[in-house]
């Protein structure tokens, strides 16, 4: 056993939080925290298994005085300091500020149609029987340091429950805002449960208002029951000093349809982990991703699709552009278990590097234990097509714009997967802005756009 500065940091924070600052006294939650923290206090980290991003995070923690905000800031209407400039995307918005759920008086809202949304900790108090069958179903180990870290230290997160037989037409949006001069350390834990025959779209954004060194390590667990449809949109626009680790675990029952679109417009250090388990037949998962990185940014996408049941389909299309000295890492793993006959699993990863110093790493990995399957994977990394550039320029288009047109054409294939039309249009615009260098990090919102419009919403009164 080796207690590293990283381990002692976790253990210290844990002690600090245990002194009454975890907001629930539920023994099951305490057991969860306890079990996870043991990964750091007892087992240590097996150093040979630490990958580069883990090492980066460990170093960062050793050199940065991270703090946890121990109490929520007093309530202020969010619109006083946060302007969401999304236009035409009509969403129900929920927000976290520095890891704390923002609300006026009701930490949990139960709507007439049965939807429950709000603080996970409050949900544990009010509806433990609803939460515990789903919470923390992933096995943690000391190798999954970020999952263990989240489980050891999470204070709260968003809880969403969609009852059976409900088509929620308005997308729900979760905005996690960081607004602090401190170097914040935030572990957010979200749980989404979609009941049988229900459908629902969810947009998750990570924003910074001030650019201290922040370390966000979010875990979202999603449970899709029979015949559900769930669309998950994630947008990331982070500054150079921030670390964002976003882990999403999805469990799918029979004939459930999961769609995801994860777009990284800017990254400090961003790691997206997406693990999908196809537990019952005829479930489908369509996973799309786009990453646009430049300067010294780092983005990593780790995907794991587990075909457990027969007759399930999965499809992955991830694309990325790396400029300057940026690094993008794609790690796609598909497992087809012995029982998963008639599986169809496809994976494509396409990359463009704009300079010799930009780095793309792509590791597709197919593991197949069933015989009647259709599977394929493909990865490409290349430059912009010189012939196409010449063609565009020969019509009078300058080199910069010719490159933009080609990059835009490359990137929008991912935006085209978006079903919510208004969101698709916004993604188009944002990709265009990002590629032309207009989407800067000092924009207040990840969805910043030219038309200013204050989105009105009242935190406690969203569905009424």
């Amino acid at each position: 056993m080796k207690i590293t500065p990283f381990n002692s940091f976790i253990c210290n924070k844990y002690e600090q939080l245990s002194k009454g600052l975890f907001t629930t006294n539920d023994s099951r939650i305490n057991a969860l925290h306890d079990k996870a923290v043991k990964c750091f206090s007892e087992n240590g980290l097996s150093e040979e298994k630490i990958d580069s991003i883990q090492q980066f995070a460990i170093n960062k923690i050793a050199e940065t005085a991270y703090t946890i905000q121990l109490t929520p800031a007093p309530y202020r209407p969010i619109e006083e300091y946060f302007r969401c400039k999304i236009q035409n995307i009509d969403t129900h918005m929920f927000a976290f500020l520095n890891g704390w759920y923002i609300h006026k008086s009701a930490p949990l809202t139960i709507f007439p149609n049965g939807v429950i949304v709000g603080s996970l900790m409050e949900a544990i108090k009010q509806y433990p029987d609803l939460v515990f069958p789903y919470l923390a179903k992933e096995n943690i180990s000391s190798n999954d340091i970020f999952l263990a870290l989240n489980e050891a230290l999470f204070i709260d997160g968003l809880f969403v429950y969609i009852p059976d037989n409900l088509q929620v037409s308005k997308p729900m949006q979760l905005v996690s805002i960081i607004d602090s001069k401190e170097n914040l350390f935030v572990q957010q834990r979200n749980l989404i449960i979609v009941g049988e025959n229900s459908s629902f779209s969810f947009v998750q954004c990570d924003d910074s208002l001030q650019f201290g060194n922040t370390f966000l390590n979010n875990v979202t667990e999603i449970f899709l029951h029979k015949n559900t449809r769930f669309n998950y949109y994630k947008m990331e626009n982070k500054d150079a000093n921030s670390i964002l680790i976003n882990q999403v675990f999805v469990q799918q029952r029979e004939n459930s349809h999961f769609f995801s679109n994860i777009t990284t417009f800017n990254a400090g250090h961003v790691v997206n982990v997406l693990k999908v388990k196809l537990l019952e037949s005829f479930a489908t998962a369509k996973l799309y991703g786009l990453y646009l990185v430049d300067k010294k940014q780092y983005v990593e996408n780790q995907i794991f699709v587990d075909h457990i049941a027969p007759d399930c389909h999965s499809y992955q299309l991830y694309k990325g552009i790396a400029d300057d000295e940026a690094t993008a890492n794609f790690n796609g793993h598909i497992v087809v278990r012995p029982n998963a006959q008639r599986t169809e699993a496809f994976q494509i990863n396409r990359n463009i590097t704009l300079t010799d110093n930009a780095k793309i790493m792509t590791k597709p990995f197919l593991e197949i234990y069933a015989d009647d399957v259709k599977c394929s994977h493909g990865a490409t990394t290349g430059q912009l097509d010189d012939e196409a550039l010449y063609y565009l320029r020969s019509r009078g288009i300058c080199e910069r714009n010719a490159k933009m047109l080609l990059m835009f054409a490359f990137a929008i294939e991912i935006a085209d997967s978006v079903e919510v039309e208004s969101l698709k249009a916004r993604q188009y615009e944002m990709i265009q802005k990002r590629l032309s260098g207009e989407l800067s990090l000092c924009d207040q919102c990840v969805l910043h756009c030219s038309h200013e419009k204050l989105l009105e919403f009242d935190i406690d009164n969203i569905f009424s």
């Binding site: 063609y391 320029r393 020969s394 019509r395 009078g396 288009i397 300058c398 047109l405 054409a409 294939e413």
Partner: protein, 247 residues
């Protein structure tokens, strides 16, 4: 308008053009004919400004300017248009977006206001009719999945829209059936006027039944070995290129 003197061009150390002299004036139509691999496309590429071609000797003057001083895009903005033998496919870039960007930049270079979307669409419609392009074609990605004939028509459509002063059309006729050939030739004839010049590079004389050249040049092994009136094209067709070789 275009004066080429003693042009020598190499690709990867191999000399392709071995001393070309050519004078093209406003209002003229020139035809350059010659067997495969003699350097016709190379000549077009050098005029277009394509990289990786090494000019080892000679000069090209266009409208009194040294053409080699102009970037690829500035050549286009100065009115040079290359109709490509093999137009590339560009998935994801719509023809509309492509042409809009091109026209905006050309107009800006010339100190003109950009067209409004309505004006632009009107212009597109007009030019589409010229080459009998269907509506659908313009909504599609540039050349993606186009047949050979559609690609060539798309080149002439672009030419019509950009209205160049000097157009070099590289085998715009090859791969076209007789109807498509007529449409393409018709389009070119409508664009042609006394202020612009067109150089058609072709393999066969059949395009020249529609577009009457003022001068026909025969390019062979990197040199213009013969120039003459339009009748030269018929003679070539009759006697074949061996006739040139043997002379």
């Amino acid at each position: 308008m275009l004066t080429i003197k003693n042009l020598h061009v190499s690709i990867k150390g191999k000399e392709i053009l071995k001393g070309i002299d050519l004078q093209v004036n406003r209002g003229e139509v020139h035809a350059i004919m010659g067997p495969n691999g003699t350097g016709k496309s190379t000549l077009a590429a050098v005029i277009g400004g394509k990289e990786s071609y090494e000019v080892t000797a000679g000069s090209i003057t266009y409208k009194g300017k040294n053409l080699f001083d102009l970037s690829i895009e500035d050549r286009a903005r100065e009115g040079v248009f290359i109709g490509f033998q093999y137009p590339v496919e560009i998935p994801g870039v719509s023809i509309t977006n492509f042409m809009r960007t091109a026209l905006d930049e050309i107009r800006q270079y010339r100190g003109l206001e950009p067209l409004t979307p309505v004006e632009f669409l009107k212009l597109m419609e007009e030019k589409k009719k010229m080459v009998e392009l269907t509506t659908k074609l313009t909504d599609r990605s540039v050349n993606e999945g186009f047949s050979g004939g559609e690609k060539k028509r798309n080149e002439i459509f672009q030419m019509a829209l950009l209205d160049p002063e000097l157009a070099i059309l590289d085998e715009t006729d090859s791969g076209l059936d007789i109807d498509a050939l007529r449409i393409v030739a018709n389009g070119i004839n409508q664009i042609k006027n006394e202020n612009n010049a067109i150089v058609v590079i072709t393999h066969y004389q059949r395009l020249l039944d529609y577009i009457i050249p003022d001068v026909v040049h025969v390019l062979f092994d990197g040199k213009i070995v013969k120039s003459g009136p339009k009748e030269l094209a018929y003679e070539l067709e009759e006697k074949g290129y061996d006739w040139i070789k043997n002379e």
